[in-house]
Amino acid sequence: MTERVGFSLARVWTIAGNTFTESVRQKVFNILLIFALVIIASASFFAEFSLGEDVAAVASYELKSIKDTCFGALSVIGMLIAIVGTAMLLPNELENRTIYTILSKPVRRFEFLLGKYFGTVLLTFVSVLLMSLMFLAVLAFKEVRLSKSAKAEVTAAGSDTEKQKAQELVVKIHDEAYDPDIVKGILLIFVKLCLLAAITLFVSTFSTSMVFNVAVALLVFFAGHLVGIAKEAWQAHTIVTYLLGVIPDLGMFNVADDIILGNVIPWPHVGKVAAYGVVYLSCVVGAAHLIFASREI
């Protein structure tokens, strides 16, 4: 009876899979997701209120409007799913005493914590994936309709200049609708959500109240979006800058506005921001482990 029990990714995956299944079977997440999908799907119809005479201006406005609504829905509903999904994990485990049955098996506390975290990351990933697919489908649907109007203009155009202008518009609509930078924006939103989930998990390692966990995570969410501005304002004060460095700079992840305006986001920048997010969340999960390892259950 002296076998060694090493760290096991299989156990982490088992706990993550179970956490994911539990979350999916809870109606609250499905309702949130359906709500997000409805908002994204209807973005196309909201945009149509702006119908005017100038096809180019209308097309540009409508596509921008769809991107704006969809990025907003992804960010806000994704945030709710990541924070609420994580905030209830440990309190529920403690309340239902399921944590006793797991930790009384040959399972390391770090495996348990990591499994719970990856379970929510998986839930967030699937939610973001479904919302993104809907987002891209809506854009594709809109592109077909706008291109049709633009092509009609090509046929109706009298002079060659008008024809060329209309053809350029068709290309422009296509490029705007299938902007590859959209994927970069979604990727950074996902990393931000994973970071928020890690922070929520960290809070729940020393608190037993789900409401408290959600409140602190939301506070970090808002502070994280303001910290960039604060850093600029307090540049001269090194200590304050260091203190502000503890709060994650979530503003860095918001590239959606640039994408909507048509600015190109270079991959190295995306990589840098994503790496910042991954390093930060790794530190937070590590800190959560330090507290959870000695927590009395």
């Binding site: 060694r4 299989a10 088992t14 539990e22 005493r97 399921t98 930790l103 009384s104 040959p106 009395e296």
Partner: protein, 287 residues
């Protein structure tokens, strides 16, 4: 080798700032031998659950240490051969009975056909065959206790730790759990159970320990502890009325005092179980 050994196990809980500490367990030296059923008795708040939690490293003792099969309880390896059923467990209510066992089996490294076979065996053993694909949110308290026992047994552990295994369970379910414990004992398993239902403990335990206010105040073999060596009782059947007086006279003549002569009573539990079992309408009966 002891299945469980504790030495000077002490646990004090912090009550919060300036409120001091609560002594839940004081210098507990416990030895549970391999193959025996040991009952940890005590009133609510006597330290039974704290003892189990310290042994399983769910809480850290303030002082002292515990070992499971000679492996320190602070090591994850100590839990390789332990199955634990907490008090009033709920489990994941969105999983079915079979999925629950699959989850716990995978945690113990059992997979594939071996796991499937084990799940079938355990579902059958705890009598949940008809409810195996039903979600736990629809389980009764007794059914949850049964699935709890099944998850504790999933990796065929040598030691079972049961915290109030019959709490909130009806007499039939309670009797089933008692029978299961006896079967496990026959299979050579060691069982440590905590309870405050004394009659049941008396039926299944080889040895008991009584905890009160965090201290072990009594320990020993159940039969030795409860038998009254100064007295003797006979249970006779078909005795003619005249013979009763003769027996009493003979006893007095030998210098004994006749303390009590009465018709033996059945227990309320036996009466209840007999009545329910004789009711032939079966479990599926409805008005």
């Amino acid at each position: 080798m002891d299945a469980i050994r504790t030495e000077g196990l002490t646990k004090k809980y912090n009550l919060g700032w300036r409120k001091g500490r609560f002594l839940a367990l004081e210098r507990l030296n416990l030895h549970v031998r391999e193959g025996e059923v040991y009952g940890l008795l005590g009133p609510n708040g006597s330290g039974k659950s704290t003892t189990l939690k310290c042994i399983l490293d769910l809480v850290s003792p303030t002082d002292g240490a515990a070992w499971i099969f000679d492996v320190p309880s602070t090591k994850v390896e100590s839990r390789l051969h332990v199955g634990f059923l907490p008090e009033n467990p709920y489990f994941y209510k969105y999983l079915t009975g079979a999925e629950t066992l699959e989850f716990y089996g995978q945690l113990c490294g059992i997979r594939g056909a071996a796991l499937k076979k084990r799940i079938d065996e355990l579902i059958d053993l705890v009598g949940l065959t008809t409810a195996r694909d039903r979600r736990l949110s629809g389980y009764s308290k007794g059914m949850l206790q049964r699935i709890g026992l099944a998850q504790a047994l999933i990796h065929d552990p040598q030691l079972l730790m049961l915290d109030e295994p019959t709490a909130g369970v009806d007499p039939i379910g309670s009797r089933d759990i008692r029978d299961l414990i006896l079967r496990l004992k026959k299979m050579g398993k060691t069982v440590l159970l905590s309870s405050h239902l004394l009659a049941q403990v008396q039926d299944v335990c080889d040895r008991i320990g009584v905890l009160n206010l965090g201290q072990l105040i009594l320990e020993g073999d159940v039969n030795q502890l409860i038998s009254d060596q100064r007295r003797l009782s006979f249970t006779l059947e078909g005795l003619p009325a005249v013979a009763r007086g003769q027996i009493e006279d003979a006893a007095r003549a030998a210098g004994a005092t006749v303390v009590n002569v009465e018709h033996p009573q059945t227990t309320l539990e036996t009466l209840f179980l007999d009545a329910v079992r004789k009711d032939e309408r079966g479990a599926g009966h409805h008005d």
